[in-house]
């Protein structure tokens, strides 16, 4: 049973989880104190840590006061990348393409997930990687602490207009105080994936699951929900709550931050959204029941929730369509875009991005590699590699949803053909339709704290330990405490 696997339905990588780190052994609290102290000791013992970098192409350019900052188009030297794992054909082909475009650069990769604890030690010791891959939600926090550098000049050197090459929503997620701090990778919008078998049993179609009609959605969810005693056997509509709570705020016209990144969790729109989440949850047995039910599901296996008819419809990021292709003969699916309360489709997605640490020794090579790895040509190579794999495995090609609308359209027109499975084809089309109106989560120096606070509020409200209003007020207070600690909150 694979229900225990860590799943983020929005397609985000996990910013701070620590599974690997914890796995290394028990982390005692005093060990953390020691780690913090040790990091500072390392910093003190390493004068290079506190002075501007020297010796790299980029740094020398920066010193000359060039308008391109530390970036040049002819990188050389060595490049250390952390957090990017080219283990599948998509990652490998992009990595290979990027490396081929920087022939004079020697690339080494730490393929483990971005770990803030490790990154802290690296920064303190002055031994940072040149390029990191991290969740977009954490980039503004790193920017606020001046741990990553703005990339406007990196884009400029390569003649890339960020909001044209990448989805504007993804760029918004990476923009902090007017500067862009990251290069987005994927934008895999969430959609509703309907299980036609269960929907059909109740005379419903996926198009009946309209998020702009919350009451109708709750009713449809309750209709499809089945219980045996006090145990769920089918959940009508899984809204990925609290994982996609930020999405539901958007559906109701709310959001997590204002334009400066200041948390705005306790707005009336957000309260409406949370009230809906609770109604949806209660209509299907309540949060505790649903959570236990979900935790026991075989998410990636041959007996997934669609095969086992454990769900009528679910909110998933696009990549789950790929997972379902493994059981294409056993499932009947269809897709529906998520709409806001005005009925307009919403393309909402988390995801990862590349960023360059402020103390990177070779920012030019890092910039070149990241721009090339997210270029249209790199994505084209990735799409071809994926097609090849799909052919070999006799699977279905469901498209490749990148952080670039240019690449997405090119891949769609060149490689996305009817699969012979009408349900999958309609779901793929739905995903492209969702991208017609992409919306940003917003960026904030307290992105992670605000997300945690929202998640806590949702769970408090869903379990009934606080009203939606009280839960959001408390979340806002918690997020504002973090905001007050940030440079932006201090007016810096």
């Amino acid at each position: 049973m694979s229900g225990i696997r860590q799943v983020d339905r929005r397609g985000s990588s996990t910013p701070v989880r620590g599974g690997d780190r914890v796995g290394a052994g028990r982390l005692a609290v005093l060990g953390v104190a020691g780690a913090i102290g040790l990091s500072v000791v390392l910093a003190a013992c390493n004068p290079a840590a506190s002075r501007p970098e020297a010796g790299s192409t980029g740094s020398s350019t920066a010193a000359s006061g060039s308008s391109t900052g530390p970036f040049t188009k002819q990188p050389n030297g060595s490049l250390r990348i952390s957090g990017f794992n080219p283990s599948d054909e998509v990652g490998k082909s992009r990595s290979d393409y990027a490396a081929s475009q920087s022939a004079g650069v020697k690339v080494s990769q730490d393929t483990t997930n971005f770990d803030p604890q490790k990154f802290t030690a690296q920064v303190a010791s002055g031994n940072v990687p040149d390029l990191i891959q991290a969740d977009r939600a954490i980039i503004a926090t790193l920017a606020d602490k001046k741990l990553v550098m703005p990339l406007d000049q990196c884009y400029s050197v390569w003649g890339v207009k960020p909001t044209e090459q990448y989805y504007p929503a993804a760029i918004d997620d990476l923009t902090y105080q007017g500067k862009v701090y990251g290069i987005p990778q994927f934008f895999q919008a969430s959609i509703i994936i309907g299980n036609d078998t269960v929907l059909g049993q109740h005379g419903l179609k996926v198009s009946d699951l309209d998020t702009s009609d919350p009451e109708g959605l709750v009713k449809a969810a309750a209709t499809m929900t089945k219980k045996q005693g006090n145990k769920l056997t089918t959940e009508g509509f899984e809204g990925d709550i609290p994982g996609s709570a930020a999405l539901w705020l958007k559906v109701f016209g709310g959001g997590m931050y204002d334009k400066d990144g200041k948390p705005t969790l306790d707005t009336p729109e957000n309260e409406k959204a949370l009230t809906f989440m609770k109604q949806l949850s209660d209509a299907q047995g309540g949060y505790a029941t649903i959570k236990s039910f979900k935790d026991a599901q075989d998410v990636f296996g041959d007996n997934n929730a669609y095969v086992a008819n454990q769900v009528g419809a679910q909110v998933w990021a696009q990549w789950y369509v790929n997972v379902l292709t493994n059981t294409k003969d056993k499932v009947k699916i269809s897709g529906q875009v998520i709409k806001d309360n005005q009925g307009k489709p919403l393309g909402f997605a988390g995801g990862s991005a590349f960023a360059i640490p402020s103390k990177a020794k070779n920012p030019s090579a890092a910039c070149a590699w990241a721009v090339n790895a997210t270029s249209t040509k790199a994505w084209d190579a990735a799409a071809q590699a994926r097609l090849q794999t799909v052919k070999e495995k006799k699977g279905l090609f469901t498209g490749l949803f990148t952080g670039s609308p240019v690449a997405d359209q090119q891949i769609r027109s060149a490689y996305v053909k009817p699969t012979g499975n009408a349900g999958f084809d309609q779901t793929i089309e739905t995903t492209y339709a969702a991208l017609e109106n992409t919306v940003s989560t917003g960026s904030s120096p307290v992105g992670q704290q605000a997300s945690n606070a929202l998640s806590n509020a949702v769970q408090s409200a869903l379990t009934g330990s606080a009203s939606p209003s009280a839960a959001l007020k408390r979340a806002q207070s918690t997020a504002m405490e973090a905001w007050a600690q940030s440079a932006a909150g201090k007016g810096k």
């Binding site: 996990t14 609290v29 104190a33 505790a288 236990s292 330990s465």
Partner: protein, 309 residues
């Protein structure tokens, strides 16, 4: 050889022996100095600073970080949760370990394999243990609730219901009780057999033997375990993190907020190193006080064969 010469030779020998001893422990002493004492010293200094990781500089914060701890309700919540857990985990852990140790001490055949089996879970990585317990503790389909169901008991949603969150971690802690069991087993085996034989001659039953002989004779070990397990329980991190924060969404966010988890969040999610260091030192101070009280009170109940210490 004169007495003076003999004494000098003896002193030289002793000095050489001492130097050799210190040389042997020198690597460990260097490790202790650099990785523990120096780091702790720096972290103490850090607790009085606002530390900027980007520039590797700290500016004096005075008592600001400590003041923030006092005014932060989440610190109080985290401390409350951690103490509640420790109050449950320490006695349950020791009692369960004692039960296992007594079973093992009475075992006459296959004692070696049994000891290995009991100790084996201690060697399992916490991540693997947590993965298993996520399934065992599942509210609907978990083995524990299925077992309870045989007796007509409708088990709780262990990992979601705030009332059962800490109990679920205690249950997970019991899985790794092997270390405590081995220590208690060694203590039990050091209890002289003659004491039990004399007690049997005097007509003492099993319970009386346990209360009057076993417990007093292993009380130094029990006392040691109470202290070390309390320290360990107040530092709980990995079980809580893996069971409740693995995907960033703690199902019972308030009930599962342990001090170690909150400290980690402050340090490595918010990069508030000064505040995190202050949290570490607050916990250190609390642990010192608790240990001092335990030592003061505990000595009254501990039986030392050589007399009271």
């Amino acid at each position: 050889m004169s007495t003076t010469a003999k004494r000098r030779r003896r002193e030289t020998y002793q000095w050489r022996e001492a130097v050799a001893g210190y040389l042997f422990i020198l690597p460990w002493l260097i490790g202790l100095a650099v990785f523990t004492v120096l780091s702790m010293g720096w972290s103490l200094r850090l607790s009085f600073q606002h530390y900027d990781l980007a520039t590797a500089t700290g500016t004096s914060a005075g008592l600001d970080n400590y003041r923030q701890l006092v005014g932060n309700p989440r610190v109080a919540t985290a401390l409350g949760n951690t103490f509640t857990y420790a109050l449950m985990a320490v006695p349950v852990d020791i009692c369960f370990a004692l039960l296992l140790a007594m079973l093992l001490s009475h075992q006459r055949r296959f004692t070696g394999p049994f000891r290995v089996i009991y100790y084996l879970p201690k060697m399992t990585p916490p991540v693997a243990t947590a993965a298993v317990f996520l399934l065992l503790l599942n509210g609907q389909y978990g083995a524990i609730n299925r077992f309870l169901g045989w007796f007509g008991v409708d088990g709780p949603t262990w990992l979601v219901d705030p009332h059962w969150v800490k109990v679920s971690i205690v249950i997970m802690t019991l899985w790794a009780v092997g270390g405590t069991t081995v220590i208690l087993l060694a203590a039990l085996q050091n209890v002289p057999r003659e004491l039990y034989e004399s007690a049997q001659v005097d007509g003492a039953n099993g319970l009386a033997q346990f209360l009057r002989i076993t417990v007093p004779m292993i009380s130094p070990t029990l006392f040691f375990l109470v202290i070390t397990n309390t320290i360990g329980a107040l530092q709980v991190f990995d079980q809580a993190y893996l069971l409740f924060y693995r995907d960033g969404n703690a199902a019972a966010p308030d009930a599962a907020l342990f001090y170690g988890v909150y400290l980690y969040q402050q340090a490595f999610q918010q990069f508030n190193f000064g505040l995190a260091a202050a949290m570490s030192w607050l916990l250190f101070a609390i642990l010192m006080v608790i240990t001092a009280v335990q030592l003061k009170l505990g000595n009254r109940f501990v039986h030392y064969e050589g007399g009271n210490r």
